[in-house]
């Protein structure tokens, strides 16, 4: 609905973060957020997704490190994307603020990436490692992935919280470690189902060849749905 006078503030809609169209009427890049606790494998998931998808999909990444540029530098060092496609946002000791309560710096990073490297298909916005309540603003991303791991405790799905309960995809990473940390994968799946209903859960082991496959398939499905959306 456009209730404003059509000519009053012609730029206004280009500043609505959630608006799916660019100024020229084409669909902007799909934005997917990745959040989750420290050490669960967010950056490794981003790196694996870039390697898996970059030949077919034009990708860029925004990282939200807590106090360093380590995540951005990890991605650069591993050369998963050219440096001009990776941007780090500084978050003032509060990573969840930068992805939820005050998204202005992240929106700028997203727009600068599109401006600098041309039309993109997909922008991955990685949160700094944070607590179980951290979720992304709908004004910043179109869909979000929450990454936990079996070594962080197999009771996390049962405990729930906004990330586990509402994320569009829940990733349970490091399944290869389950025997060593005594994690009950079937119990985690059952608890996740109870918390999330029909929302999907992917069990991954990024250490294995093609381990990011289930997440990449989900991202491809999101991209297909996004591209087919109304213009």
């Amino acid at each position: 609905m456009h209730l404003d006078h059509p000519d009053a503030y012609p730029h206004r809609h280009t500043y609505s973060a959630a608006h799916p169209l660019r100024g020229d009427g084409s669909r902007r890049a799909l934005r997917i957020g990745l959040g989750g606790p420290v050490g669960s494998g967010k950056t490794a998931t981003v790196a694996a997704l870039c390697r898996e998808l970059r030949d077919r999909v034009s990708i860029a990444v925004v990282t939200n490190d807590i106090y360093t540029r380590e995540d951005a530098e990890f991605l650069l060092r591993n050369a998963v994307l050219p440096p001009e496609r990776i941007t780090a946002v500084e978050t003032g000791a509060c990573p969840h603020t930068a992805i939820r309560d005050d998204i202005s710096a992240n929106l700028e990073a997203v727009e600068d990436l599109e401006e600098a490297v041309g039309p993109l298909d997909l922008i991955l916005v990685e949160s700094g490692g944070d607590n179980l309540t951290a979720t992304f603003s709908k004004g910043l991303v179109d869909a979000q992935i929450f990454v936990i791991d079996v070594a962080g405790g197999d009771d996390i799905p049962r405990k729930g919280g906004p990330g586990v309960t509402t994320a569009d995809l829940l990733v349970v990473n490091k399944t290869d470690l389950a025997p060593y940390v005594g994690a009950d994968l079937e119990g985690m799946a059952r608890d996740a189902k109870a918390q999330r209903g029909d929302l999907p859960v992917a069990f991954t082991s990024l250490a294995a060849e093609g381990g990011v496959g289930p997440v990449a398939d989900w991202v491809r499905a999101q991209l297909a749905a996004w591209t087919a959306g109304p213009r």
Binding site: R12, R69, D101, D102, A105
Partner: protein, 230 residues
């Protein structure tokens, strides 16, 4: 009221509370206003040293920002004010930060109090104008006075460091808020002085500077590990 019609001045004093709220989503939470560097150097250690730091910042950078904000709210040419802000900001790191924050504030204000004046400034300075000038135009668009704009600027000049020091030192938040309360009469005086100066036009604007803040901002910008952007 028709779209685009100016809101009469003093229509909403509460708009000042919205604009000056530390939760206004314009990027301020990532900045410590020099407090992180001062904490690392041992100059801010407790509530007393935080108060001294805030007082110094208020009467230098705070006064200068408030003059620019009041002038923009009074309707002085924003592009001339932007040059005046550059001339008053010797540190390249702080110039870059002021423009980045100005761009973030522009985004928030175009969604909250849209105005053709701000659209024009955004078109002329797509990478961001100095934050106090955007703040002044925001106040203007919200129907606030130049003095209100000066208040928003002076409060921000001390509330940012106080909040940051709570995070950096684990300082008791009641003590940090007590510092702000004790500074309130000085905030009144500095805001009034800035608004007075703005009535004298561009050349009468304050040009207070704190060399240590400028030098430490350059040092801080080169740190490989830091919690805040400035």
């Amino acid at each position: 009221m028709a779209v685009g019609e100016a809101i009469p001045p003093t229509a909403s004093r509460a708009a000042l509370l919205v604009l000056a709220d530390g939760r206004f989503p314009a990027g301020g939470h990532a900045h410590s206003g020099g407090a992180e560097a001062a904490v690392k150097a041992g100059r801010v250690r407790d509530a007393g040293t935080l108060e001294a730091f805030c007082r110094g910042r208020l009467h230098t950078a705070g006064l200068t920002a408030a003059g620019l904000a009041a002038a923009a709210a009074a309707g002085l040419d924003p592009l001339a004010l932007d040059e005046a802000a550059d001339a008053r900001t010797p540190s390249p790191a702080l110039r870059a930060a002021a423009r980045r924050l100005g761009r973030q504030l522009t985004r928030a204000v175009r969604a909250t109090w849209p105005s053709p004046e701000l659209d024009a400034l955004a078109a002329a300075r797509p990478r961001g104008a100095h934050q106090p000038i955007v703040l002044g135009l925001a106040a203007r668009a919200a129907g606030l006075t130049p003095l209100d704009a000066a208040y928003a600027a002076v409060y921000e000049s001390v509330s940012g460091p106080a909040t940051a020091v709570v995070r950096l030192l684990g300082l008791d938040p009641f003590d940090a808020t007590g510092v702000l309360a004790r500074l309130a009469p000085e905030l009144d005086a500095v805001a009034a002085r800035a608004a007075d100066a703005a009535r004298g036009g561009l050349d009468a604007l304050p040009a207070g500077a704190a060399p240590l803040l400028d030098i430490m901002a350059e040092v801080h910008a080169a740190w490989p590990v830091r919690l805040f952007a400035t």
